[in-house]
């Protein structure tokens, strides 16, 4: 099963959830990132997402592998949408199923933090008075080595 993907189509939550649902799992944690209208006092009209697709899929799969090492019981599906997205559209959906809920929440949280670190996807915000490609939102770190550092996730 191809469990991580980049899509141009609307993301269906039900479908993502059902792909990790299984008899062994008692918990499914889902995270849905949606397009927010206001950031500070700026009103977004719409967003544009761009990906380095081949590498983005590889990096999403890497995150799945990392989760498999830390939470061997987890099953993970990640889908990220690209192209033009309107307010409230789903940009990313992460589903994690596990036998017990602790690890579903933890692994899910791990996935979104890692996506924001290593997956080559960018968003451009479009406002009434301009537009801008958004940089790293986890702080304005410079990648001195050219590589993102592997950081431990703080819960």
């Amino acid at each position: 099963m191809n469990s991580c993907s980049i899509t141009r189509e609307p993301i269906k939550v039900e479908e993502i959830a059902s792909r990790v649902t299984r008899p062994e799992a008692g918990a499914v944690a889902l995270f849905i990132g949606t397009v927010r209208e206001l950031t500070g006092d700026k009103r977004t009209l719409y967003l544009e997402y761009q990906a380095y697709e081949a590498m983005a899929v590889k990096k999403l799969e890497q995150i799945r592998t990392e989760i498999g090492e830390r939470w061997p019981d987890a099953q993970v599906v990640i889908v990220h949408r690209i192209g033009r997205l309107e307010i409230t559209d789903i940009a990313v959906a992460i589903a994690v199923s596990t036998p017990h809920r602790d690890s579903a929440y933890e692994a899910n949280r791990y996935a979104i933090e890692r996506i924001k670190e290593i997956v080559p996807i960018w968003k451009k915000e479009h406002w009434e008075d301009g537009e801008e490609w958004i940089g790293n939102q986890k702080g304005t770190q410079e990648y001195k080595t050219g590589k993102p550092e592997v950081t431990e996730i703080e819960n």
């Binding site: 997402y49 590889k58 990220h80 940009a91 080559p120 996807i121 770190q141 050219g146 590589k147 993102p148």
Partner: protein
Amino acid sequence: MKIKVLLFAHLQEEAGKGEVELELQGDTVKELMAVMEKEYRLTRLPQAMIAVNEEFADEETVLKEGDSVAILPPVSGG
């Protein structure tokens, strides 16, 4: 040697295209970055990550004919 360079986000807009082929004198990512900065007036390159053939690399990485080098601004997916 011939190197394919992929550009994304603001870099793509500054270059006016997402992909360029260039004939590189030298063989490291660092040398390639210097050429890109000069020829395409790309900004904020020090913040960029580099990938060679879809895997993260760094400035010291040695390139070979036919490599695909992607210059990746800080990511903002999710």
